[in-house]
Amino acid sequence: MSQAVAPVRHVLIEGDKSYHRITEDLVSPTEKAPTREWMIAFTIAAAFLGLYVFAIVWTVWKGIGEWGANRTINWAWDITNFVWWIGIGHAGTLISAILLLFRQRWRTGVNRAAEAMTIFAVMCAGQFPIFHMGRVWLAFFIAPFPNTRGPLWVNFNSPLLWDVFAISTYFSVSLLFWYTGLVPDLATVRDRATGFRRKMYETFSFGWTGSAKHWQRWESLSLILAGISTPLVLSVHTIVSFDFATSIIPGWHTTIFPPYFVAGAVFSGFAMVQTLMVITRKVLKLEEYITLNHIESMNKVIVLTGTIVGVAYLTELFIAWYSGYIYEQFAFYNRVFGIYWWAYFGMMFCNVVSPQLFWSRKIRRSIWWTFFLSIVVNIGMWFERFVIIATTLARDYLPSSWSYYRPTWVEISIFSGTIGLFFVLYLIFTRVAPVVAIAEIKSILKVAGSQYIGPNAKHQHGTESVKKQDESGH
C-alpha cells in the first residue's frame, strides 16, 4: 500500500481508489442503461406516485371530508406526515452544513445523497400543508403580496405562516447548496458524455472548466451556504414545533418542543439516510465509498439523538406531573395510557429502546441491523408525530368533544403516495447525477503524488492503480 496515510487519521474510503477509479465508479451509473432492479423499483415507485395523484385529485374534488379527520381532530395523518417528512429532510443539511463546518470529512461519502434526500423529503413534506387546505385553490393567500383587497395581509402572528417562510427558505437554500455541490460533478459527467447528453450536462454545469478561480469561488459559495444553512437546520424544525408549542392545547403547549423536535428530526433524518445508503451502496456497488465507518458514524448520531429524544419524552412526563396542572397531567396520562396507548408504546420502543442496541459495536457495524433499525426508527418517528398530533387533539379540554380518529383509504394512499414520489425522485437522481460527491471525495483520498501520471512521471511507482489506469488506456 502506497497511500501516505497519517497514522492518526482513518481511511475514509476503502478499496485503494485512484482518482480515475472514483470517476469511473461514480459516473458510470449515469451512463449505463438502467438495471432491472432499478426498473422494478422505479415502476413500483411510479405506481405509488400515480396513487398519490389519484388520491390528491379525489381530495381536492370531493373535499377534506374524504379524510378521517373530524371536528375535534382536525389534523391527523396530514400534519403527521408533514412533520415526519420535514424531519427526514434534516439530515442532508446537517451533514452538508454542520459537519462541513466541524470539518467532519467523513461526510463526503454520504452528503450528496443525503442532500438529495433532504430536498425530496421537503418536497414530499410540502405536499401536506398545501393539500390539507380546505380550499387549496386559494393557497396563494398565504403569500404576503401587495393586493387589491385592502391590501389584505397575512397574519404574521401565525406559526403556520412562519412555517411557510421556514420551509420555503430551507428548501431553497438546501436546493442551492445541493446544486452548487453538483456543478463540478456535472462537469465531470459532461466531460465524459457525448451528443445530446453532453449538451444537457453542459447547460447544467454552467460552463464549469475547473479553473482555480472556479474552484475558489465554488469553495467560497459552499462555505457561505453552509453558514446560511446551519441555523436553518435548527430553525426549521423549531418553527415546525411552534405550530404546536405556541398553541393552547395541553400536550402541545410545551417549551421543550423546539430542541426535542430538532433532535427528533436529526434522528429520523439519519435513520432515513441509513435506509437509503444501505440500499444505494449495494445496488450501485459503492461499498467502498460509503463504508462501514460511515454507517457506524451515523449510527452513533442515531443513538445520541435517540437518547436525547428519550430524555425529552421523560422530561415531558416529569414536567406534566410537576406542573400540578390537571389538563397537562391528563394529556400525558392519556398519551401513555389513553385510547392511543399503542402508538405511544410503539414510539417509545422504536425511538428510545431500539437505538440503544447501537451501543454494541457489532450491531453498529452490521448492515442488516442498521437497515432494520433505521426502518424501526422511521416508524417510531412517525408514531411520535401521530402521538403528538392526534392523541393530543383527541382528548383536550372539553370531554364532550373528545373523539377518535381512523384514517381513510384516501389518507393512506396520499401517505404511501408521497413515499412513491420520494423514491421516483431519488431513483431518477441516481440515474442522472453522481450519488457521491466526486470532487469532494477526491479531496479526501489519502494518496500522495504516487498517482501522478503527468509528463514528468517516472515509471517508478508501479502501483496497481497506475497499472490499471494504463490498461484502461489513459
Partner: protein
C-alpha cells in the same frame, strides 16, 4: 266543523293524541267533573313529584311548564332558599328526569305501585285511609316515605303529576294532590288546558266500525293513524273497507298513501286560523307566506264541501273573511276590552293572542280512590319503556331534518332511535353496557312476538332490569325520516283500550347481530367522572370511560373548570371555592405577553352572553333555532357518525355523581368570543379576527381551510365544511350555466324551493371553510340599523340572538357588556362569584359566562 256536521249530520269527529293523555282526562272528569287538563303551576310548587311525566320535554305543555319550573331554579341570591325540589319517578333517563334533584328508580310496570305507595304514605301522614295496592321495590318504597313527609310539609305548595295512562292511577294522583291541598293552588282548574283532548278508545271503536263496513267516508286531518297507533295493522285493514278515504296531509305519509283522495292542505305558515290551547287564550294563526303549491286550507275545504252560506268564494281569501266575520259575530261579544269588532280583530292579529279574563273556576275532589285497576308489576326480568322525544314526538317531526339532526338531549344520538341499556363499571377501565353490549351494537329485541333490530346506546341512569327506546322513528313514508330507526308503536299494549307506553317480557338477543363502528352520536364521552365506590379514606372513588381508568387520577376530570356544581346547602362553600378559583385564574392571566386591551374593549359596544345552567333544561331549542337562523347545513347520519356535524351551538351533557343514578348538567356551548382568542392568532391568513365590538368574526371568503383555528379552540366550537354540504361549492353550483344541468341533477341548494329554507341575511358557506357561532351578527346589524333609522341609541334587548329567543326558560341572555344596566350585566353581576368563564385560567377571556349548577337533592334518599 259545526257547519260541516250540520250539513252531514252522520259525521262524527274522533280525536286521538299521538301520545295519549286519555286517562288523565278521564280521571279529571271522574274526580273533578272536568274532562280537561288543569294548569299546573310548577313555579308555585316547593316540592314536585313527577311519575314518569316528562313535563319539561314532551308532556302536555312543556314550554309553559319549563318556564315556570325554571323560575324556581335560578340563582337569586347567596342562599337560594326558594329553590324547589324535584323528584322524578322513572326507569329511563328522561329529559325531565335528567333535571330532577332526585330520581327514584322504578320499573315501568311499577309506576302504579309507586303511586299507591306514595298515596299510602301521604294518607298516613294526613289521616286518610290506606288503599293498599301492589308493592313497589324496597328502595323506592323507602324513598316514598321520605318524599311523602316532604310533600306534606309543603302542603298547598307541592305538585304531583303522572304520565300514567291508567285511569285508576290518575285518580289516585288527583287524590294525592287533594290530600296535599294542591287542588286550586298548583293544580289550577281556573284555566283549562285544551292541549290534549283525544281518546284512543274512540279509535278502537272506530276501527271496529270501519271493519264492519259502517263507515262510508273517512277524512284524516292532522293525524297519521297508520303509523301512530299500536294497532296500526288493524287500522289499515279496517281503513281499506272505507269507500272514500280523504287525507288533508301535505305529505304522502303512511296514512295518506292508503287514501283514495289526497286533498293537501296549506302548511300552517300559509294558513289563517285561530286556536285556543288554553281556556281564554285565543291565539291567531297567521300566514307568513302565500301558498307555495296548489293546496287549499283544510277548513276551507270542509266549508266548501258543506256549502257554507257564510263563505264567500268570491273573496280573495275566503277563509280569512270567514274567520274575521266569525270573530266579529261570535267572539267579539264575549269580551269587553275592545269596543269595535275591527279593533278587536286588528289588535288580536297584532298581538297574536287575545286573553279573556280567567274563569276563576274552582273544583273539589269527588269520589273514591282505590287500588283496583292499578297496574301490577309484571315481574319480568327485562322491561321496556317507550317515550316521546322532545324533537321527534311520536313521529310528527320525523321528516324534519333539523330535528332529526338535533341530538337527543340525553343520549346525544341523531337520526334514529336507540335502545338505552343500563350500564355498570367493569372495575378496571370501562363503563360497560348490560350484557357487554356497547354503543353501535345492534340487537334483536322481541316483545309480544314482534322482533325489531335496534341499535344500542349505553343509557346512563337507566334502571337495571329495564331498557328504553324512543317513539317516533322507523317512519315508512312521507319524507327524509324514512329508513331511520325502528317503529316501536306496535310493541305498545292496551289496557282497557288505553295505550300503555311500556311492555314487559322483553327478549334481547345475547350477542349483537352486527356492530356499527361509526355511531351517530355527537358526544362519545359522557361523564365528568362518576363515583362507583369509596376509596380507603372514605372519599368517593371517581372513574370514567377509557383513558382515565385507575385510582388517584379522577381530579383530571372532576376538577376541570368547565362545570361547577354543588348542593344548594353548600352554596357558601361553593362561593368560596369559586372566588378562590377566580383569584387564581386572575393571577395566572396577568402573566401574559398580550397587551392589555381593556381600553379597546371598554368603549362602545362589547357583546357578551350569560348562560344560566340552572335554567337550562337541555331541550335543544336553541340549537335548532341556531341551525335555522344561520343556515347551518344538515349533514346526515353518516357524516354525524364521522363527527362532521356542523352545529354552531351544541348542548354538552355531562353525567356526574353516582354512576347508578347520575346527575346531569347541560351546558350550551357556542363560540365564546374570547378577547384573546387562540383561534385568531393562529390563522395564517387573518380569516378570523376580532371586531371592535368584541365579536370573534369569520371572513369566509378569506378562509383557506387549514383548520388550525379549530384545533386551537379549547372549546371545540369551530366547524369545518368537510364536504360540499350546501352544494354551494364553486363547481357544481356553476355547472348549470355551463352544462345546462337538468332539473333533477341540479344541486339541491340551487333549487328555489329548497333555498326558501335559507335565511337571506346569512351567507351560505362553501366547502373547505371554517364557520362558527357569530353571536347572530346579522341580528346585531339589524338592531343597530333599526336604532339608527329611529335616530336613537341602541337599547338593551334591541338585539336578541336566535338561541336566546328560542330558549323557553330564559337561560340565555345576550347584550352589551359595556352597558352597566344591560340585562346580561345585571345577571352576571347578580350571580357574583357563581358566574364563571369556562377554562377561565387559560386566559382566553371569553365573552360568555356561565353560572354554577346548583341542585337541591335530598341526600337522605341516596344514603
Amino acid at each position: 266543523m259545526g257547519e260541516f256536521m250540520a250539513k252531514y249530520p252522520n259525521t262524527r269527529v274522533i280525536t286521538y293524541d299521538p301520545v295519549s293523555a286519555a286517562a288523565l282526562l278521564a280521571a279529571n272528569e271522574q274526580s273533578f267533573g272536568q274532562r280537561a287538563i288543569p294548569s299546573y303551576h310548577f313555579d308555585q310548587a316547593d316540592v314536585i313529584v313527577s311519575f314518569n311525566a316528562d313535563f319539561l320535554g314532551t308532556w302536555i305543555s312543556p314550554v309553559e311548564y319549563a318556564r315556570a319550573y325554571a323560575k324556581r331554579r335560578k340563582i337569586t341570591d347567596k342562599k337560594m332558599d326558594n329553590m324547589s325540589r324535584h323528584y322524578q319517578v322513572e326507569s329511563h333517563m328522561s329529559l325531565t328526569g335528567s333535571n330532577a334533584d332526585n330520581r327514584i328508580l322504578v320499573k315501568p310496570s311499577e309506576q302504579g305501585a309507586a303511586i299507591c305507595a306514595l298515596y299510602n304514605e301521604v294518607a298516613a301522614l294526613t289521616g286518610a285511609g290506606s288503599i293498599g295496592g301492589p308493592k313497589v321495590n324496597d328502595k323506592a318504597a323507602a324513598s316514598m316515605k321520605k318524599v311523602a313527609r316532604e310533600l306534606v310539609n309543603a302542603k298547598g305548595k307541592s305538585l304531583v303529576v303522572s304520565a300514567s295512562n291508567n285511569v285508576a292511577e290518575q285518580v289516585i294522583v288527583n287524590k294525592i294532590n287533594d290530600l296535599l291541598g294542591n287542588i286550586n293552588t298548583t293544580v289550577d282548574f281556573g284555566t283549562l288546558s285544551y292541549q290534549r283532548q283525544g281518546d284512543e278508545r274512540d279509535m278502537v271503536r272506530l276501527i271496529e266500525e270501519m271493519k264492519s263496513g259502517q263507515v262510508a267516508i273517512a277524512i284524516v286531518w292532522g293525524a297519521n293513524p297508520a303509523y301512530e297507533l299500536p294497532n296500526a295493522v288493524a287500522f289499515k285493514e279496517a281503513f281499506a273497507k272505507v269507500n272514500t278515504r280523504v287525507s288533508f296531509s301535505g305529505v304522502m305519509d303512511e296514512t295518506t298513501s292508503l287514501c283514495t283522495h289526497a286533498a293537501p292542505a296549506h302548511h300552517s305558515l300559509e294558513s289563517w286560523g285561530d286556536v285556543e290551547p288554553k281556556e281564554g287564550h285565543l291565539s291567531m294563526i297567521q300566514p307568513t307566506i302565500a301558498p307555495l303549491f296548489d293546496t287549499r286550507q283544510a277548513e276551507l275545504s270542509l266549508l266548501m264541501w258543506a256549502d257554507s252560506p257564510n263563505l264567500n268564494l268570491e273573496d280573495e281569501q275566503p277563509y280569512y273573511q270567514y274567520l274575521k266575520s266569525y270573530w266579529a259575530s261570535d267572539l267579539f261579544g264575549r269580551q269587553n276590552k275592545y269596543s269595535t269588532p275591527t279593533a278587536f280583530w286588528d289588535m288580536s292579529v297584532h298581538d297574536g293572542v287575545f286573553e279573556m279574563p280567567a274563569s276563576g273556576r274552582t273544583v273539589s275532589f269527588n269520589g273514591n280512590v282505590s287500588s283496583e285497576g292499578v297496574s301490577k308489576p309484571s315481574g319480568s326480568a327485562v322491561e321496556i319503556s317507550c317515550f316521546e322525544t322532545v324533537n321527534i314526538g311520536n313521529g310528527q317531526y320525523a321528516h324534519n331534518p333539523w330535528l332529526q339532526e338535533m341530538p337527543d338531549p340525553v343520549n346525544r344520538s341523531v337520526w334514529g332511535n336507540y335502545l338505552a341499556i343500563p350500564v355498570e363499571w367493569d372495575g378496571v377501565n370501562n363503563i360497560n353496557g348490560w350484557q357487554n353490549l356497547t354503543d353501535g351494537d345492534h340487537v334483536d329485541v322481541t316483545i309480544g312476538g314482534k322482533t325489531l333490530n335496534c341499535a344500542v346506546v349505553r343509557g346512563f341512569g337507566q334502571m337495571p332490569g329495564t331498557v328504553s327506546i324512543a317513539l317516533g322513528q322507523g317512519r315508512e313514508a312521507g319524507g327524509c325520516g324514512v329508513g331511520y330507526g325502528v317503529n316501536v308503536n306496535p310493541w305498545l299494549g292496551m289496557n282497557g283500550n288505553l295505550i300503555q307506553y311500556y311492555a314487559g317480557d322483553v327478549q334481547v338477543s345475547d350477542k349483537p347481530t352486527s356492530t356499527d363502528k361509526n355511531v351517530p352520536c355527537v358526544q362519545h364521552h359522557h361523564t365528568m367522572g362518576v363515583a362507583v365506590g369509596k376509596e380507603e379514606d372514605g372519599k368517593p372513588y371517581f372513574v370514567d370511560e377509557h383513558a382515565i381508568g385507575y385510582k388517584g387520577f379522577a381530579g383530571a376530570l372532576t376538577d376541570r373548570s368547565i362545570i361547577f356544581q354543588a348542593h344548594v346547602n353548600e352554596l357558601p362553600e361553593l362561593g368560596e371555592r369559586m372566588e378562590k378559583f377566580h383569584e387564581e385564574a386572575g393571577h395566572l392571566n396577568q402573566q401574559t405577553l398580550y397587551p392589555d386591551r381593556s381600553e379597546f374593549f371598554g368603549t362602545g359596544l362589547h357583546w357578551g352572553m350569560y348562560v344560566d345552567l340552572n335554567s337550562c333544561i337541555g331541550c335543544g331549542a336553541c340549537q335548532v333555532a341556531c341551525v335555522s337562523e344561520n343556515n347551518v347545513p344538515v349533514v346526515g347520519k353518516n357524516e354525524v357518525a364521522r363527527h362532521h356535524e356542523m352545529t354552531w351551538l351544541r348542548i354538552d351533557r355531562y353525567f356526574y355523581g353516582d354512576l347508578e343514578n347520575p346527575k346531569v348538567v347541560y351546558q350550551p356551548m357556542m363560540c365564546q368570543h374570547c378577547e384573546t382568542a387562540p383561534c385568531e392568532n393562529v390563522c395564517p391568513v387573518n380569516a378570523t379576527n376580532h371586531s371592535m365590538e368584541g365579536l370573534n368574526q369569520m371572513a369566509y371568503n378569506r378562509c383557506i381551510g387549514t383548520r388550525y383555528c379549530a384545533n386551537n379552540c379549547p372549546y371545540k366550537v369551530r366547524r369545518f365544511n368537510w364536504l360540499d354540504y350546501t352544494t354551494a361549492d364553486l363547481w357544481p353550483a356553476n355547472e348549470e350555466r355551463v352544462f345546462h344541468v337538468s332539473e333533477d341533477d341540479k344541486p339541491f341548494y340551487a333549487d328555489n324551493l329548497v333555498r326558501m329554507v335559507l335565511n337571506p341575511d346569512v351567507t351560505v358557506r362553501s366547502r373547505g371553510v371554517i364557520e362558527k357561532c357569530s353571536f347572530c351578527v346579522q341580528r346585531i346589524q339589524e338592531g343597530k340599523l333599526t336604532a339608527k333609522k329611529e335616530t336613537r341609541a341602541l337599547a338593551d334587548n334591541d338585539v336578541r340572538t336566535a338561541c336566546q329567543t328560542a330558549c323557553p326558560t330564559g337561560a340565555i341572555t345576550f347584550g352589551n357588556l359595556n352597558n352597566p344596566d344591560s340585562e346580561v350585566n345585571q345577571k352576571r353581576n347578580n350571580a357574583g362569584a357563581f358566574a364563571y368563564q369556562v377554562l377561565e385560567e387559560i386566559n382566553t377571556r371569553p365573552g360568555v359566562k356561565y353560572s354554577a349548577k346548583i341542585h337541591n337533592s335530598n341526600e337522605e334518599l341516596n344514603s
